[in-house]
């Protein structure tokens, strides 16, 4: 782990533990965005109220929750290795592989519906995990930095799945390369009728609770945390760093693969080339994880916040024509303020 980018990321990790700086960064971010809006002749107050209304008012709250499910999943996929100072930038590819595998199982496995669904989820997660573990093996045996390998391995994964749905698995009646539609019996059921919330919510919520608990209370979580604080110390104390890296990457990739499978079985119902990566959950997730310094509960909070901002941004754009790019500016500014904090803090002493 020698790339300076990774050093910078762990630097952010160390400084972003409590919620106080997170809140102040959020408030500052809103302030700056308000100023930008004002400068171009938009009303900051209108922006704020429309953003909040668009995120939580009436049925919009369900939209926010539905968006928060994959975003939280991807944020935790980034946060798990980040907790130990490791960066997984390849969750895109792991998610796509997981989703693609889930679609194939759901369509072609000769088994009862419920078995097909469970197998699709499990194998989707397993393939995502295995693919991430491959990057870990690359670092351990060939010294390829994870930062690079995870990121670059995304492209062949996306390419392979794109080819699959273009030639052998393609549903010929669709305009865009995709598989056939998954039969209703194999899909994840809706939790609240008339809303986009499905059983995937339960799976991700369960994963989040489990991760928060293990991070705080398990020996394994403790080793991760100490490694994030001082890798050399962790090694000195007997943590087998390579083995830890491998399973960390597996869990991270499996979570990404699970998100892919949930999106296929829960909302998209077919694997369409590029559809899983279009909403950019991976990158919002990485930002949420960075914002919380890899701390799981903070990561979940940040991910839900981002989901709310995004749905709010869409609604705001529709209703009052304030461009939603402002909400992306907001996300970026929050992150920048939070990373800056370290430097300001140190000078103050």
């Amino acid at each position: 782990m020698s790339l300076s980018a990774e050093v910078a990321l762990t630097h952010i990790t160390r400084r972003a533990i409590s919620l106080v700086p997170l809140l102040s960064a959020v408030i500052l971010g809103f302030g700056v965005c308000g100023l930008i809006a004002k400068a171009v002749g938009l009303s900051p107050l209108l922006m704020l109220t429309e953003l909040i209304k668009g995120a939580v008012e009436g049925p919009q709250i369900f939209e926010t929750i539905a968006r928060a499910v994959p975003l939280t999943g991807m944020a935790l996929a980034a946060a798990i290795p980040l907790r130990a100072g490791i960066v997984n930038l390849g969750a895109d590819g792991q998610m796509v592989l997981g989703g693609c595998a889930a679609a194939i199982i759901a369509l072609y496995l000769p088994a009862p519906d419920i078995v097909r669904m469970l197998a699709a989820l499990l194998i989707g997660a397993g393939i995502g995990g295995a693919y991430a573990a491959l990057a870990a093996a690359g670092e351990i045996f060939a010294n390829v930095p994870l930062l690079l390998s995870t990121w670059l391995l995304s492209y062949p994964a996306k390419g392979l799945c794109g080819w699959l749905v273009r030639s052998p698995l393609r549903d010929p009646i669709t305009a865009w390369p995709s598989t056939y539609r998954i039969p209703p019996g194999v899909r994840l059921a809706h939790l609240v009728p008339g809303t986009p919330i499905n059983q995937g919510f339960l799976l991700i919520a369960l994963a989040a609770v489990l991760i928060v608990f293990l991070d705080r209370r398990s020996s394994v979580g403790y080793e991760l945390r100490l490694r994030g604080l001082n890798e050399r110390f962790a090694r000195y104390g007997g943590v087998a760093l390579n083995r830890q890296t491998t399973w960390l990457m597996f869990v991270s990739g499996a979570l990404a693969g699970l998100v892919g499978a949930i999106m296929i079985l829960g909302s998209q119902f077919r694997f369409t080339d590029g559809a899983l990566t279009a909403p950019q959950y991976t990158w919002s997730g990485v930002l949420a994880a960075l914002l919380a310094g890899g701390e799981p509960l903070g990561t979940v909070i940040a991910a839900v916040l981002f989901a709310a901002l995004q749905t709010g941004g869409f609604a705001m754009e529709r209703s009052v024509e304030i461009p939603r790019v402002l909400t992306m500016v907001l996300e970026s500014i929050i992150i920048l303020f939070l990373s800056m904090r370290g430097a300001i803090w140190r000078r103050g002493r």
């Binding site: 160390r14 209370r217 398990s218 020996s219 394994v220 403790y222 080793e223 945390r225 100490l226 604080l229 001082n230 050399r232 110390f233 962790a234 090694r235 000195y236 104390g237 007997g238 943590v239 087998a240 002493r349």
Partner: protein, 503 residues
């Protein structure tokens, strides 16, 4: 007349009063020793003087003018220079580049290299600090690097030179050389602040001594009118004996055996065919100037560095190819030389630091889950037993003084109760009181039949504790001595690489 004064300086950290109305004055041409145990507030005081920290109360006066330092840059502008314990040098650059860095003589937009070299050579000659301006710093021995640090300060027209534990890394011969330089500088009108915990050095070289304890000045002494016992009393508040009881009667079974151990590649063997055996109830000292393969040897024994040849047997098991965890489980614990970089996590609490290594088994962990209450109780027990000064067990250890952090490390490693203990520079940068404490803990381990491998650059430590002594030079063991036949001058000779028999 006092040239530099620090007046009523107060510095608070959460839960600790690091400096409590400290007054310090230094005259031109004076060597002034600042002494005290770890955590007494010496480092904080010097950090304030060098602009690294700002005082909560009080102020600094130079030449009767009050000054405020926002950063070391301000301090340097006022003629204050500091030689840190860990040198701040660019290893890949040459000596002259390091000296002029940031204030280079210029010709147009370029650095005037010829003029720089000339100035550096002139400076080194004028102050009796021989050094080759063209040498690459990475290739220089530690003593010469220290000379370079002093040159850097002189180049910046230093009027007050602070040296933080400057002798920790030097051979006895180099120490004498350093003292000569300091006396010359003082004679030229420089004020010198020598931060040290070594009584004999303060007695040998200083004019006056200010002693700190618990953040307060406890004594201001004129060196010619005091004695070591008085200083120790001022530092610790009690009378101490630094004598160590002699070794137990008979060494026990062989605990650790090295056979022809090699570390490093063909061209540069950091450790070259080292063999020894270590028995229970025995302290084996490894002497040598820092950087002669001791760290590599220890890291190879612990599994933190691969062995290129030979084998290691620990408690009857060949561990040459085992993991760090397996070695620890086989009965070795390790006080690492670098407590900040290796042996602790500064950002984690004392609880987290003290539980590391115990976090996978009862009582701290049950079925893979931590029992937080047990963990904290465990930390409190060790803090009490080792008299660690810390606000609470949840305090981050990065805020602790060197000695207290070292006690955290030692408390944890001794708690393993392993039959073999590797203690690498266990008292480096640690004050007299803590040294006494650490030495007595090591002796207690020995008397319980545990085997100790003591690596130290401190000859007094080796001579006080070791039953047998190996001297390492350039990766090889060049001498093996019994304590009875060793003394400082013989060891010093071997440490400098001397092959000849000393009598």
């Amino acid at each position: 007349m006092a040239f530099l004064e620090m007046i009523d300086v107060v510095k608070r950290y959460p839960g600790v009063l690091a400096n409590d109305h400290v007054n310090l004055d230094v005259n031109k041409g004076e060597i002034h020793a600042v002494m005290g145990e770890n955590g007494a507030g010496k480092s904080t005081l010097m950090a304030i003087l060098y602009g690294l920290q700002s005082p909560d109360e009080g102020y600094i006066r130079i030449d009767w003018k009050t000054v405020f330092f926002r950063s070391p840059i301000d301090a340097i502008d006022h003629g204050i220079g500091m030689v840190h314990q860990s040198f701040k040098l660019f290893e890949s650059l040459s000596v002259w580049e390091n000296v002029v860095y940031g204030r280079e003589p210029r010709r147009g937009p370029f650095i005037d290299a010829a003029e720089s070299r000339r100035q550096v050579a002139a400076l080194s000659e004028r102050h009796g600090l021989p050094i080759d301006p063209m040498a690459r710093v990475g290739s220089l021995p530690v003593g010469v690097r220290q000379r370079l640090e002093i040159l850097k300060a002189l180049y910046r027209h230093v009027r007050v030179l602070i040296l933080d534990e400057p002798t920790a890394v030097l051979t006895p011969g180099e120490v004498a050389g350093l003292f000569k330089v300091l006396r010359t500088l003082a004679a030229a009108g420089c004020a010198i602040l020598l931060v040290t915990h070594k009584l004999n050095e303060a007695m040998a070289v200083s004019d006056r001594i200010t002693v700190l304890r618990d953040g307060r000045v406890t004594e201001r002494l004129v060196t010619a009118q005091t004695n070591p016992a008085q200083i120790v009393r001022a530092m610790t508040g009690r009378n101490l004996s630094l004598d160590v009881p002699p070794a137990g009667p008979h060494p026990g079974a062989v605990r650790l055996e090295l056979n022809q151990l090699v570390v490093g590649g063909q061209n540069r063997r950091a450790v070259n065919e080292v063999s020894f055996t270590l028995r229970g109830g025995e302290v084996l000292g490894i002497a040598g100037v820092a950087g002669n393969g001791q760290s590599e040897l220890v890291e190879a024994i612990m599994g933190m560095r691969p062995c290129a040849g030979g084998y290691i047997v620990l408690n009857g098991r060949d561990i040459t190819r085992r993991s760090i965890a397996e070695r620890r489980a086989a009965g070795v614990s390790y006080i690492a030389e670098d407590r900040i970089r290796t042996a602790s996590a500064a950002g984690a609490s004392a609880t987290d630091n003290l539980a590391f290594g115990f976090h996978r088994r009862p009582p701290i962990a049950v079925r893979g889950l931590l029992r937080i209450r047990e963990m904290r109780a465990w930390a409190r027990t060790l803090i009490r037993k080792f008299e660690i000064k810390i606000a609470s067990e949840m305090t981050r250890v990065g805020t602790l003084s060197g000695g207290n952090l070292q006690k955290i490390v030692i408390a944890r490693e001794l708690a393993h109760d392993a039959p073999v203990l590797i203690a690498e520079q266990p008292t480096r940068g640690v004050d007299v009181g803590a040294i006494e404490f650490i030495h007595s803990e090591l002796v207690r381990e020995r008397d319980r039949g545990h085997a100790i491998l003591l690596v130290s650059a401190e000859l007094s430590e080796i001579l006080a504790l070791a039953d047998r002594i190996l001297v390492m030079y350039e990766g090889r063991v060049i001498a093996t001595l019994d304590r009875a036949e060793a003394n400082e001058s013989i060891l010093g000779l071997y440490m400098a690489g001397g092959e000849q028999k000393a009598s």
